[in-house]
């Protein structure tokens, strides 16, 4: 009786093979149908300026073979491998992996903060004073602005579970608040920073009121519209915002009153240093580091306070929240206000750093980018959001100068043009591999005996 099961090829195996071949054949046929008109034929001009039809059977065949091979690999290699992995997962192998992951998580935060602090020094050492401007400014500051925006939106989407697609509106409010107030009244950066935060928070509450009753997709649509409204107002209220032309000549931040310029009362002269624009960049870098750390600190604190717990409870079950006496209106409004406030900080920093702002900087694409960072990072996880911001913003920035790709794809290849394509591809891959984001587990806010992370499958996703 035992013989039958060992000797003959298992019927399951043969069926799998047959199915794999059938799938591959179908995929090949579909490719043929689709690619035949697209790749199979081409019109070219001959010497007499006439159009002639050229057939390209070789290229077509290559395409089809690639698809067939891919399909076979998926059904014969990847799928069984995933099934085996799933089986092993059930068997409890994951406990050890969870332990390793916890250890990494423990040391990751101090390491990351340390690295962020010494990063400019490292870049000066490796790239020199001239070369490091790009690394600190375009890369470091840019990434940190998005880390901060991601963390701010994380309060609204990740913790409170309210999907906000118009987050960039608050970023814009912060930026324009700083720009207009600094130009009109000559107030300093450090006064305007909290003021811009308050104004943004106010607008957050203003948006919060009408959308209190909305959930999920409806909430997303209304917040998206809100973002567009703010942008359109910025474009059309020309007398106030200068419309498309934007606002230029925004006062740059000073080092507690000492400007960063080449004059005698400038930063370099006062401290007896040789003038270089790098000092301002360094100063701005450490300001945004400070702001981002403030965001992280406040968010972590809030998570352990009743408001933070109420946000998460709201994400989990709003009706149960109300049955426990939680005022869900206030809870939602504080989430919107907190998120908007951090966007306002980031916005006024952005305006101070650029010296020029226009509505172009606050398009829906920016909101989408920030939401993508939060989703990819794993909603609710601060480390995940930071990693996602580094990967997405840093990744796209790095792709701007990947000239080595020219050597592979030929000189006509312009890597910057493929930035968005690669970016989209990476996002699709991550969503297949980790549909709930890079770090999808949840850290409990407190514990009785032992801190255990909550598995992703229990945690609700922020869908409003």
């Amino acid at each position: 009786m035992a013989v039958t099961s060992t000797d003959s090829p298992t019927p399951g195996g043969r069926a799998d093979l047959l199915r794999a071949c059938r799938d591959a054949a179908i995929a090949g046929l579909v490719t043929l149908g689709m690619m035949l008109p697209l790749i199979g034929f081409r019109t070219v001009q001959n010497i007499n300026n006439e159009l002639v039809l050229e057939t390209r059977p070789g290229l077509l065949l290559t395409m089809i073979l690639i698809v067939v091979a891919g399909s076979l690999v998926i059904s014969l290699v990847i799928r069984p491998w995933r099934q085996r992995k799933a089986a092993a997962h059930v068997a409890g192998e994951s406990v050890q992996r969870a332990h390793v992951r916890a250890t990494i998580a423990k040391y990751l935060t101090p390491f990351a903060i340390g690295f962020v602090l010494v990063y400019p020094i490292l870049s000066i050492v490796f790239a020199g004073w001239q070369g490091s401007v790009k690394w600190v400014d375009n890369f470091g500051i840019q990434v940190l602005i998005y880390v901060m925006l991601g963390w701010g939106l994380n309060i609204v989407v990740g913790l409170a579970g309210l999907l906000d697609l118009g987050y960039v509106a608050f970023y814009a409010v912060g930026a324009y608040s700083y720009a207009l107030l600094a130009k009109e009244f000559g107030l300093s950066f450090w006064i305007l920073l909290p003021l811009a935060g308050c104004l943004s928070a106010f607008w957050g509450i203003l948006l919060g009121f009408p959308v209190l009753r909305l959930r999920g997709d409806y909430l997303a649509i209304v917040t998206l519209a809100f973002g567009e409204i703010i942008r359109l107002v910025l474009i059309n209220w020309v007398s106030f915002t200068n419309g498309y032309a934007g606002i230029s000549g925004i006062p740059r931040p000073t080092f507690f009153g000492i400007p960063f310029n080449a004059n005698d009362d400038g930063f370099a002269a006062v401290f007896g240093l040789e003038f270089t624009p790098m000092y301002r960049t360094l100063f701005l870098y450490y300001v945004i580091v400070g702001l981002a750390l403030l965001t992280a600190f406040v968010t972590l604190r809030l998570r352990k306070l009743p408001v933070g717990r109420a946000w998460e409870a709201l994400r989990e079950d709003e009706i149960a929240c109300r049955s426990l006496g939680v005022n869900t209106t206030n809870t939602k409004l504080t989430a919107f206000a907190m998120g908007a406030m951090f966007a306002g900080f980031a916005g006024s920093f952005f305006a101070a750093r650029q010296g020029f702002i226009s509505p172009e900087s606050f398009t829906f694409m920016e909101s989408a980018m920030i939401v993508a960072i939060v989703v990819l990072g794993g909603m609710g996880s601060m480390i995940g959001v930071a990693i996602a911001a580094v990967a997405m913003i840093g990744g796209t920035e790095i792709m701007r100068d990947m000239d080595f790709l020219k050597q592979i794809f030929g000189n006509s290849f312009d890597p910057t043009q493929y930035r968005m394509l690669l970016f989209g591809l990476a996002m699709v891959l991550i969503m297949i591999w980790k549909p709930r984001g890079l770090i999808s587990t949840r850290e409990p806010s407190t514990f009785l005996k032992e801190r255990k992370t909550v598995a992703a499958s229990f945690v609700k996703e922020g869908r409003g």
Binding site: L302, E312, L324, V326, L448
Partner: protein, 300 residues
């Protein structure tokens, strides 16, 4: 007669469009008692709960609750005539629940509830579930977040007390070992008990339970009886209970109200209700005459 009532429901009617889910229902729940609300499926029991706890606004009728001594009821008519939701009087107060939004019913009037289909915060730990229930007192202690962010010690003390209270309830419902596990990971019976403990953490004077024994096995059901009796006897919280499981209703309730098609068909002690032909008819789905005939045949 109903002066020892804690809750008075009077002429409550709830319509959903053309459907009358509850029709002209009046009953009282006495202080310190377990009052059971029973009836066949779709009788309108959950709707009554939703009206009491502010989730629905009743089409008609009055739902009044008192804190403190029974002299509070003297205020009822004058409070109803005013446009107020509640009135403090001496060391008690009177609340008109139908005028209050759902969260205030819990926060101010101290009526807590559970749900027929369990509503826990599944992604939060068991302990966190019990802490969310103490939101309002912790919110005050954290100076509405301000002191909390600054990390002042009096918030830390309040949080400590809240955790202690949660631990006390975990002990009571036998879930101390699972305190740090996600609530969604608990077995069904434990989830039911946790939901009751969570409601109790809001310090209610009236606890409304919507079918707490649904889906429990006989042993769990017996444990539930003990838990409810201890809530009644030790913590002295009045309980309003919707239940299908007659072994629960008949063992622990002091007073039973029977609903059918949104109207009250019987009201009395468990023995009175048990022998009421109308109730038997409603539950068996036959006419009263037939019940009487059948009873005569078996010699009841």
């Amino acid at each position: 007669m109903s002066s020892d009532a804690i809750l008075r429901v009077e002429h409550l009617t709830m319509r959903f469009g053309g459907l009358v889910a509850v029709h002209d229902l009046s009953f009282t729940a006495k202080k310190g008692e377990i009052t059971a609300l029973i009836g066949p499926n779709g009788a309108g029991k959950t709707t009554v709960f939703n009206c009491i706890t502010g989730f629905y606004k009743p089409s008609e009728g009055r739902v009044a609750l008192r804190h403190g001594d029974s002299a509070q009821w003297d205020q009822l008519e004058s409070l109803t005539a005013s446009s107020l939701r509640s009135r403090m009087h001496g060391d008690g107060a009177l609340f008109l629940l139908e005028r209050m939004p759902d969260y205030l019913v819990t926060q101010k009037a101290r009526v807590a509830r559970t749900f027929q289909n369990i509503r826990l915060f599944r992604g939060m730990t068991v302990l966190e579930n019990l802490l969310v229930a103490q939101h309002n007192s912790l919110m005050v202690a954290s100076g509405f977040t301000l002191f909390g962010v600054l990390g002042l010690p009096n918030y830390a003390r309040a949080e400590h007390a809240a955790v202690d209270k949660a631990a006390m309830w975990l002990e009571k419902i036998n879930l101390t070992d699972r305190a740090d596990d996600p609530a969604g990971d608990l077995p069904y019976g434990a989830q039911r008990r946790l939901e009751i403990a969570r409601a109790m953490c809001t310090d209610p004077v009236l606890l409304c339970l919507d079918e707490p024994a649904a889906g429990l096995n006989p042993r769990e059901s017996a444990e539930l009886n003990d838990l409810l009796l201890s809530i009644k006897n030790e913590i002295k919280t009045s309980v309003l209970l919707i239940e299908h499981d007659m072994s629960v209703v008949m063992q622990i309730s002091d007073h039973v109200i029977v609903l059918d098609y949104g109207t009250k068909i019987s009201d009395g002690t468990r023995d009175q209700v048990r022998n009421d032909p109308k109730v038997i008819a409603a539950y068996l789905g036959v006419d009263e005459d037939e019940v009487a005939k059948a009873e005569a045949e078996v010699g009841l």
